[in-house]
Amino acid sequence: MIARFVSLLFDGFAYGMLLFVLSVGLSVTLGMMNFVNLAHGAFAMVGGYVAIALMNRMGWPFLATLPVAFLAAALFSVVLERVLYRRLYRATDLDQSLLTIGIVFMSIAIAAYVFGTNQQPVQLPDYLRGRIVLGDFSFGVYRLFLIVSALIITGLMVIGLEYTRFGAQVRACVDNQRMARGLGLNVDYVFMMTFALGSGLAGLGGALAIEPMGLDPNFALKYLVYMLIVVAVGGLASIRGAFFTAGLLGVIDIFSKYYVPWIGGFILYLVMVGLLIWRPNGVFARR
């Protein structure tokens, strides 16, 4: 009983950490440019498919595909940002949502065309499989790997934002974009780099998610909702908020699917709508 509970808690937390990696980029870019980017899930999917293609068609080891997934998603997003997104920074929420939904639809069709509609098979290396047993408790090695990776990424992000010059520029742009521009910051450039980093993280998350979440062309839409929940509840541009929300979301999702499977995603959406009504700017919002 207790062992089951602890192991569910562990799985939920690992799942939440994965959601954090997937969605933290969206939180920062949304907070900075106020751009409603619903294509964030598509960036994650790019990372996932790049990793799959490298592993299954070219025989790369899993760990080596992760940086490539990061770079591919970052590059993809920057191209889109330069070509399409920048035209709409001053447009309404509605136009931004629709443009990015258009991109999501296209990416779903392209993924189906290139890779087929089936879930992609993935073979994790031996050292990431199996379980560690400690007395009554047992933990999946891959879940542990997810948690450790997410914690490292969080650490790097916090250090990068708090202690580097670029991080200071990012914070300035989030807090007051007009003032930052007035002081001579190249806001366009800062945003482009932040956007690339955030989307790269999504790509990395997409590659990490292949095993626990499964990868098929609907990934871009299916997990978009989770990402948006993390951002909306966590509050815009708040790493701390995104971290706690993602962790909580993962735990709630795993628990509700285990203990009350017949109501499925119901609890999740109910909690999200409830929290948004209670605090429209996010529970952990800074502003």
Partner: protein, 333 residues
């Protein structure tokens, strides 16, 4: 729009009356909706689906186009309308017209309850809540498998004849007449609402959210009223869909349907009354043609269409046409 000569007394009733007047193009448009009976009698089923989609888009236009409220979850009302009409018919009362009324009343009630949430929030949170509610209702319908049929859809919907005379035939003749009449009557009502002082105040809220309360407009209650009206007509569209196809699929409540109806509206041009109608017609015909090739890749063309419309035609096709006509006119004079 209301260019007045300086010094002349401004008469608001006159302005509204001028908008209410029927233009020749409008009459031509509605006469043209009868053409499928003669020209494409094999496509009447598609035509009735277009009429339903047009009504659905029109109901969304009231929110998005006229009141400036974004909704990515409008399928909630379509689905509630479809399920209430379908369930009523399945459980023994298959009379179509009272079924429509029943469904729109139920949907209006749901819209009224939801409107209390909607008027409290704005911007990103609003988009998220509309999406969330859409998913929530989808989950509810999915888990109430015994009532709604869940994934298999609601089967066994038996409709009676209209007025006890006109049976729903397999060529869709009755269905098209029925949906067309319903859509036209709803259009008349919505057109009247939009061109009323109430409709003007909606546009005022769209243009300036701060000034309207300052000049004494009770924003929240107005928004609630428009939510209920919009929900009611979306429910009507859903009910029409359930009655004419005699089936309700789970995707009546899906996020995809919410996105599609927005696409229709934006494609045609929001806030132009006919935008939703023309957008719906183009969208449904394009889907019918493209999905024939390969249903899977229809989404690619849909996405491409969205990107092109948003980047190049921000006011939709009607907006683009209006700008073109303006340019030609100003060159002439």
């Amino acid at each position: 729009m209301n260019a007045q000569t300086p010094g002349a007394a401004f008469n608001p009733q006159e302005v509204l009356r001028a908008q209410v007047r029927w233009r020749a193009l409008e009459i031509i448009f509605w006469v043209a909706t009868l053409a499928p009976f003669v020209l494409t009698p094999n496509y009447l089923i598609l035509c009735s689906q277009i009429a339903i989609a047009a009504l659905f888009a029109l109901s969304l236009d009231l929110l998005v186009g006229y009141s400036g409220i974004v909704s990515l979850g409008h399928a909630v009302y379509f689905g509630v309308g479809a399920y209430s009409a379908g369930l009523l018919a399945k459980h023994g009362w298959g009379e179509p017209i009272s079924g429509l009324l029943f469904a729109s009343v139920v949907t209006a009630l749901v819209g009224y309850l939801i409107s209390f949430i909607m008027v409290r929030i704005t911007h990103f949170a609003l988009i998220m809540v509309t999406v969330g509610l859409c998913l929530l209702f989808g989950e509810i319908a999915n888990s109430l498998h015994d009532v709604t049929g869940g994934d298999d859809g609601l089967q066994g919907v038996k409709m009676w004849s209209i007025f006890g005379i006109y049976r729903f035939d397999m060529f869709g003749r009755t269905a098209y007449v029925y949906t067309l009449v319903a859509t036209f009557l709803s259009f008349l009502v919505l057109r009247r609402i939009i061109n009323s002082p109430f409709g003007l105040s909606l546009r005022g809220m769209r243009e300036n959210q701060r000034r309207m309360p300052a000049i004494g407009v009770p924003m929240k209650s107005r928004l609630q009223v428009v939510y209920v009206i919009s929900a009611c007509f979306a429910g009507l569209a859903g009910a029409l869909s359930a009655q004419t196809t005699q089936f309700v699929a789970l995707d009546a409540l899906s996020f995809q349907r919410s996105a599609e109806v927005l696409v229709m509206l934006i494609l045609g041009g929001a806030g132009r009354l006919y935008g939703g109608l023309i957008g719906a017609a183009m969208f449904m015909v394009a889907r019918d043609q493209l999905a024939d090739m390969n249903p899977q890749y229809w989404y690619f063309w849909l996405g491409l269409l969205l990107v092109i419309v948003i980047i190049f035609l921000p006011n939709g096709i009607l907006g683009g046409l209006a700008a073109l006509i303006d340019r030609v006119r100003s060159r002439r004079s």
